[in-house]
């Protein structure tokens, strides 16, 4: 027998499941693509341009930071593409592009790379980017346009090309021009909170309504999430726990005052809850690792979401709920370390 000149010395285990970070991240991107496509169908060219811009800006930021810090580029792990897509999907479809670029830079630069890149970010980068935009441009980020507007495949929403740092024209006139009957620019959450008009659950489920680019269709988000769960690339416990937390809290409010607060169906399918619970709260880097911790984390975020919606000044609370959950996750992890095999027996034996 002649053996190879070199015998590899490696340590056990010599087998690997074969699943890699790149594959997980790539599959999350695949799962987001249907949402992107639906968003383009609902909101037209502006939504498409917003996504392309966000992804390009995010990838470029990460690559340039890697080059500047003389490290091999990390864009190959695909995680930055997710950040770009998620940021665009959580913004209004006609969000000014220069602001998209700024938000992308904040998401990838300070929120991710400054912490050390993939695996070290304390918060979901896309949400940090969005939180920055919300604080900096409160009007633009609440300027929603109606779904299925006329000419959406041939023209852009005027605000898309807003000139940096100039006061933007209000969209009211444009919306009046293009809107199809029954589709208003106000999101269901805003209508419910300020006008006490509850959108019916079926519309919310299918998503033919105003809102952030990718948050509208609960059904589509659930399907895309199910794909990731079935491929074992997403932890189902987090979205389930978060939706459960929101539904239970919503139910409590509804039972206390049915006239004031809508039922759990509305709570679940309106706003960004589905998108946030499925694609953002599940960012593994910023969520706990222990089985019990995952449930606590999810339930807590669901609760905070609904409390912000019903008690706070904002119409939507998903973003802050997830960021708070991210902040708490190291603590949750610490408090929920599982009981190890044989531990109880040890104490009893003493």
């Amino acid at each position: 027998m002649s053996t190879a000149a070199v015998i590899e010395l490696r340590t056990a285990p010599h087998l690997h499941s074969g699943l890699s970070v790149e594959e997980i991240m790539r599959n999350v991107v695949y799962a987001l693509l249907p949402l992107c496509a639906y968003s383009v169908w609902l909101f037209g060219l502006s939504a498409l341009l917003s996504m392309v811009t966000a992804v390009a800006a995010c990838v470029l930021t990460e690559h340039l930071i890697c080059v500047a810090s003389k490290r091999p580029t990390t864009i190959g792990d695909w995680s930055v593409v997710i950040t770009g897509l998620l940021l665009a999907l959580t913004l209004p479809p006609g969000f000014p592009l220069w602001m998209v670029v700024l938000g992308s830079f904040i998401a990838v630069g300070p929120a991710k790379m400054l912490f050390g890149g993939l695996g070290f970010n304390a918060f979901n980068p896309a949400l940090v980017g969005r939180a920055f935009l919300q604080a900096a441009f409160p009007v633009a980020i609440t300027s929603y346009t109606p779904a299925l507007a006329l000419h959406r495949f041939t023209s852009f929403i005027p605000s898309t090309f807003a000139i940096p740092l100039l006061k933007a024209e209000p969209l009211t006139a444009w919306i009046a021009q293009v809107r199809v009957d029954a589709f208003s620019g106000a999101t269901p959450l805003v209508m419910q909170k300020f006008d006490h008009v509850t959108t019916d659950t079926w519309t919310l489920f299918l998503g033919t309504r105003a809102g952030s680019a990718g948050e509208t269709s609960a059904l589509l988000i659930a399907l895309c999430g199910a794909y990731l769960v079935l491929r074992r690339m997403m932890d189902w416990r987090i979205p389930v726990a978060m939706l459960l937390g929101a539904a239970l809290t919503g139910m409590a409010y509804h039972l206390a005052s049915p006239a004031l607060y809508p039922g759990p169906g509305f709570v679940l399918f309106s706003g960004g809850l589905m998108l946030g619970a499925t694609f953002m709260a599940t960012d593994p880097v910023a969520s706990p690792t222990t089985p019990l911790g995952l449930w606590i984390y999810g339930l807590l975020m669901g609760l905070i979401t609904v409390v912000i919606r019903f008690q706070g000044g904002l119409a939507e609370g998903v973003m802050y709920a997830i960021l708070l959950g991210n902040a708490l996750s190291p603590l949750i992890d610490r408090l929920t370390q599982p009981r190890i095999y044989g531990a109880q027996a040890k104490e009893a034996a003493r």
């Binding site: 027998m1 010599h14 690997h16 993939l118 695996g119 370390q337 040890k346």
Partner: protein, 447 residues
């Protein structure tokens, strides 16, 4: 063949389903491998004190003759695996990578290889203490890989009592089928060994746990078993690492071995099937352990199989006999999840070697870049001991070993490899833990 799994919720919840690659060899009968030109019998093939040579260079020995004696209670003797001449007692490469003392024995090509040593002994009329002493003389150690002297486990610790003997026939490591074939071909020896163990520890019953991917083994054992033996044979759903004794006793009997404790703490004694088969075979004839069944398999092996080979057979000889591709790049002793890759093919087969696996270059992934931990929690979900490998890995990177020991139960980890297996960032977690344990030992010595 219809086997029933044990009812209820008793199963291994954690752990991983690893492709088992057992179909290559699980149907192949045990075949004898020819003697190599030179046998290398290390004096320390077991946990405990190395054996003391009874022979010197130039001496002629007969197959089965003791050539080294046990040094104290936690030690076992060695027996000559072949009739031949002692060439020298010298250093030889070992599986651990270090050189270790070994007896070099050159078999006579024309000798009859008859085993002349040994005499019948009546186990029915032996006391537990006599059985323990007799088992030590056979030189049998845990053949499942741990190589812990079996007679030590048969001696019930002071103040403890054993109510059940657990027989481990799981063989959950991929590729390995040596225990499987022993159960199929020598069920009577296995059960006889179990009865001897029951007698030694004073247990009225024994439970044999076999993974349900070996229905023929379950069948063979059940057929060989008698109703009044006190032995039951249970099929358990296959999952890695069920063959770890901590896992198996939980699945079979719902008992947890305390952290840092022994099976005897919960009234159990656990033995591997191949170990008991050897005891059942050797003890009545008062002979010594001189050979064992080893699975030779892996993508680079052309004639994989279950080979009965003399203790001391060099890996190179075993692989030559089984046929081996030219581009072998990694040779593993034991299973692929916990086995060690060897640095030299002159390493001999010892009593604890369950398998020899040869992989050609490119058939194993191990070349993947290590990425940062993304906290996905897969390792936490699979750890059979409910440890937190993710957290320990992060601490290991910062060399905070004391915290790993004090807060995260580092020493409970038995290095099954599930965490490294599932890690999408390809972090060599188990290796980090081994390094941490070694560093803690060194710090302790220095202190």
């Amino acid at each position: 063949m219809n086997i029933e799994s044990i009812p209820g919720l008793r199963r291994l919840w954690r752990g991983v389903h690893v492709p088992d690659y057992k179909e290559t060899t699980n149907h192949l009968p045990i075949r004898r491998l020819p003697f190599p030109p030179l046998l290398i019998i290390p004096l320390s093939q077991h946990a405990g004190a190395p054996a003391v040579p009874l022979v010197r260079a130039g001496q002629e020995v007969v197959r089965g003759e003791p050539i080294a004696r046990a040094d104290g209670f936690v030690s076992v003797p060695m027996h000559a695996p072949a009739t031949g001449r002692i060439e020298r007692i010298d250093l030889s490469p070992s599986a651990r990578g270090t050189l270790a003392q070994a007896i070099f024995l050159r078999p006579y090509p024309s000798a009859s290889q008859e085993i002349l040593y040994g005499e019948p002994q009546d186990i029915e009329h032996m006391s537990p203490a006599e059985i323990v002493a007799a088992v030590q003389q056979t030189g049998v150690v845990g053949l499942g890989g741990a190589a812990f002297p079996t007679h030590v486990k048969l001696k019930v610790p002071e103040g403890k009592s054993i109510d059940t003997v657990v027989v481990n026939g799981c063989e959950c490591e991929p590729y390995l089928t040596s225990d499987h074939r022993v159960m199929v071909e020598q069920p009577h020896e296995v059960l006889h060994g179990a009865r001897i163990a029951m007698k030694a520890v004073g247990a009225p019953r024994a439970v044999v746990g076999v993974e349900d991917n070996k229905p023929d083994a379950v069948d063979a054992l059940r057929k060989a078993n008698t109703a009044d033996s006190g032995i039951t044979i249970e099929a358990v759903p296959a999952k890695y690492p069920q063959g770890a004794e901590k896992m198996l006793v939980k699945v079979l009997l719902g008992r947890e071995i305390p952290s840092g404790g022994l099976p005897a703490d919960v009234g159990l004694a656990v033995f591997n099937v191949a170990t008991l088969a050897q005891i059942g075979d050797l003890l009545p004839r008062r002979q010594g352990l001189i050979e064992r069944v080893v699975t030779v398999s892996g993508p680079a092996v052309t004639r994989p199989g279950n080979y009965l080979m003399a203790i001391g057979t060099p890996l190179r000889w075993a692989l030559e006999q089984a046929g081996c591709a030219a581009n072998v790049s990694r040779v593993v002793l034991g299973g692929p999840m916990m086995g060690a890759a060897v640095s030299s093919l002159e390493v001999p087969v010892t009593k604890g070697v369950t398998g020899i696996l040869a992989f050609s270059s490119g058939s194993l992934n191990g070349q993947h870049a290590i990425l940062p931990c993304i906290h996905c929690g897969r390792c936490v979900d699979v750890c059979p001991l409910h440890l937190n490998p993710s957290q320990m890995g992060l601490l290991a990177r910062k060399q905070r070993y004391e915290e790993m020991q004090a807060e995260l139960h580092l020493y409970d980890c038995f290095e099954c490899g599930c965490c490294s297996y599932v890690c999408p960032s390809h972090i060599p977690l188990v290796q980090y833990f081994r390094v941490a344990k070694q560093a803690l030992r060194e710090r302790k010595v220095q202190a």
